[in-house]
Symmetry: C2
Subunit: 324 residues, 2 copies
């Protein structure tokens, strides 16, 4: 069984050897650009780790891993257009660096590149691989649509929010793991279990992100603490606070949300004060732990030795243990 570091090396090599066409340049340059902006490569790593978990060499699933990584980067390029985002990983987004048209079309051809990689999977597993990949891709699109719709709605329930982050973020983690399992010839039951593990851990990750945005240590956090608060982003914390707030807390929260002109730091402080009154951090952590525990319970049911499971658990813990 290969170590996580060895799998990362396989990924790095595969990314170096993607071998995209060079012409037309404006179509393919943005693909190299976005993929080489980096990122932790968690999703393709999950494909490889799942394949190794079930006793097959990760080199068998490297094409599926590339499909997942290219697809993920495609969603970043198109989401950045839709969200009007100027920066991605500290660099200009594709639509800023080139143009919106280039970003649309390069994104489209990335989807084709993802599918080309997928078609290289062992034909024995091809049909299952495609069905899983397509269901995943469809879920991610649905999640992005719901995320956009929620921006202009003021009656989003916690249940709807959890479903949105499940689709937008978590199904891709679940799908990546399931692909790796399928290509290892895992049983349908184990493939479903690892997919469900991934989905639940993905929801926990996103709730963790929601908490970190408000309560992270500014010294250790990669971005501005309170960014979600400033933008009135409908995170778990805000939705829960809106559900629970009464009296002065409700007045304060709604005043901050509707304020047109404000000092950003004052707003972050003010909204966090409301959250503290309502014990929102604790409630969010309980929800996060609920999904993490559910994920781990599903993982425990997978018919593989604990020894083989260790690396995936370590990675999961590392991702969950980013500091506040």
């Amino acid at each position: 069984m290969q170590t996580t570091e060895q799998l990362q090396q396989i990924l790095n090599n595969a990314i170096q050897n993607l071998n995209l066409p060079g012409y037309p340049k404006q179509l393919y340059d943005p693909i190299s650009y976005i993929i080489n902006l980096g990122g932790k490569r968690v999703r393709p790593l999950l494909v490889l780790m799942a394949t190794e978990l079930f006793g097959t060499d990760a080199n068998e699933s490297v094409h599926a891993a590339m499909a997942i990584e290219i697809f993920h980067n495609f969603t970043l390029v198109h989401d950045d257009i839709m969200d009007n985002a100027p920066l991605r990983r500290g660099q200009a987004t594709v639509h800023e660096k080139w143009s919106t048209n280039v970003a649309i079309l390069s994104g489209d051809v990335m989807m084709v590149e993802a599918n080309k990689n997928l078609a290289k999977v062992n034909p024995v597993f091809l049909k299952d691989t495609l069905d899983t990949f397509n269901a995943t891709a469809q879920g991610v699109c649905e999640g992005q649509q719901l995320d956009m719709e929620f921006e202009s709605r003021d009656d989003v329930s916690i249940e709807e929010y959890i479903n949105m982050i499940r689709l937008k973020t978590a199904v891709l983690l679940g799908g990546a793991l399931k692909l790796g399992a399928i290509i290892a010839g895992a049983s349908a039951r184990d493939a479903d279990l690892i997919e469900q593990f991934g989905e639940n851990i993905g929801i926990a990750f996103q709730l963790h992100d929601d908490i970190l945005d408000v309560y992270a240590d500014p010294e250790k956090f990669g971005k501005q603490v309170g960014g979600d608060i400033i933008a009135n982003k409908k995170t778990f914390l805000l939705l829960k606070a809106l559900e629970l707030a009464e009296g002065d807390a409700e007045t304060a929260l709604k005043t901050w949300i509707s304020a047109k002109a404000f000092n950003a730091q004052d707003k972050v402080k003010g909204v966090r004060a409301v959250y503290d009154t309502l014990n929102i951090q604790q409630i969010a952590k309980e929800h996060m732990n609920h999904y993490r525990d559910k994920a781990l319970a599903l993982f425990a049911q997978i018919n593989v030795s604990d020894e083989r499971k260790a690396d995936l658990l370590t990675l999961t813990n590392q991702l969950m243990d980013r500091e506040y």
Copy 2:
């Protein structure tokens, strides 16, 4: 062997039964909208006709035909954003009716739907089907990129133009036919021949369109005659005229092209007069006939009886015989 009318009925039924998800509504409504705007359904019909040509029931390739039709409609939705087009088949484009973001994301999920349909193909032919579909989709994206680049270039050669229309328009016809052949279990040679037939006939179709835009009978032509001239669109006719024009003809042509304010009918008349001096219509027809003849020569080599070939030839002739 089923008649063309029977195959069209199979297509109509399949489109009625596409069974798209209903939620999120804003993601899926645009798909039904664009697909039900109609069109001649030539591309999916070619899939079915190729399958029947090689002696297999067209119902075997109906999922591939749907994949081609959904993919084609996806390219229309995204191209209309890029081209800033307000109308498609006389109705509002998706980005006009909803928004650019909806059009981007609905387009993306159409690509997924196309791939979902493709995955339903008989597993024996799945790998070949995917490889052909992905190569086709990639070509179409490359063609759209080149088309956009050519708008701002003034040194586009005839060779580059033919390659652009080959990618943007013709490879999808070739790909549709090849998919149908693959699913019928045709030999690799026959599958390649019918693909090449489709590509060459597609280039002939586009040259025919270029000629029609200038020389169609306004009574019979569906749209404004001279639209390409008014917009300075770099068609075969304009590029050839720029190549050949000297002296007064060159001056007249360049004056019309660079004119900022002009009477549209005068410009159409003026540019057409230059074309007539240079015998452009005749030259364009010779090029068109060259590709049509090449297509027919390839088609003749396909190892199937003339009787089975008759319907595809009839369709081809119908599409080429639209009146001037």
